[in-house]
């Protein structure tokens, strides 16, 4: 069974600063995908970034980037130039690659507050 652990229940960052959210996972699979989702107070889960395990290059999406360490099973999210709109719950998620795979496994989330 796969597990995803987010060890930081809450974090805060000053506006315009950089923050890193941690995520570790456990799996015996070699091919999989990792995601970071953002859930603002509106409850809408929004995809922030995704990473294919077979790619060594870390994914980036504007101010969001990941540090993917496959051997360590670590997948942290870095938010640069934090904005007030980044205030939200952030969930790390994992899914096995393959046509028959469809269950996302989520961590319990990190509540991020951006302070003006």
């Amino acid at each position: 069974a796969q597990t995803v652990t987010q060890s930081q229940p809450e974090m805060s960052v000053q506006e315009a600063e950089t923050v890193t959210l941690s995520c570790t996972y456990d799996t015996s699979e070699n091919n999989y995908y990792l995601f970071w989702y953002k859930q603002p107070p509106s409850r809408q889960m929004i995809l922030v970034i995704r990473q294919e395990a077979y790619k060594q290059q870390n994914a980036t999406e504007n101010r969001f980037s990941v540090n993917f360490q496959k051997a360590a099973k670590s997948f942290s999210l870095k938010i640069s130039d934090s904005q007030l709109g980044d205030t939200a719950m952030y969930f790390c998620a994992f899914i096995i690659s393959g046509a028959g795979s469809y269950q996302l496994t989520f961590g319990k989330g990190t509540k991020l507050s951006v302070i003006p």
């Binding site: 995803v4 409850r43 889960m45 319990k108």
Partner: protein, 116 residues
């Protein structure tokens, strides 16, 4: 195009009553998922539909929970004889349904259910 929509946005019910939650996926998406998000927890997989195939109900917590998907589009999650522990946010997601685990799942805004 429109995203995943869910209704109602909020539902308050009395213990023992039945409730129906509705999900309208993104047009053209054949895969549909239901997840439950309880207070302080990550998301828990409930059920998965792919086209006209039999759904994977392995995540449903009890036989009081059931779901159907009519015409391969709209889905209804029904909870019979609700209990207080059913209080949670119920999230629906959809994806293209052609590539299994590598697909991004797009989420709706959820239905917040409160059982008194």
């Amino acid at each position: 195009g429109a995203g995943v929509s869910q209704s109602p946005s909020n539902k308050v019910t009395e213990k023992g009553k039945d409730v129906e939650l509705r999900c309208d996926p993104i047009s053209g998406h054949t895969a549909l998922y239901w997840y439950r998000q309880s207070l302080g927890q990550g998301l828990e997989f409930l059920i998965y539909f792919q086209g006209n195939s039999a759904p994977d109900k392995s995540g449903l917590p009890s036989d009081r929970f059931s779901a159907e998907r009519t015409g391969g589009s709209v889905s209804t999650l029904t909870i019979q004889r609700t209990q207080q522990e059913d209080s949670a946010v119920y999230l629906c997601a959809s994806s293209l349904g052609t590539s299994g685990g590598q697909e991004t799942q797009y989420f709706g805004p959820g239905t917040r259910l409160l059982v008194l």
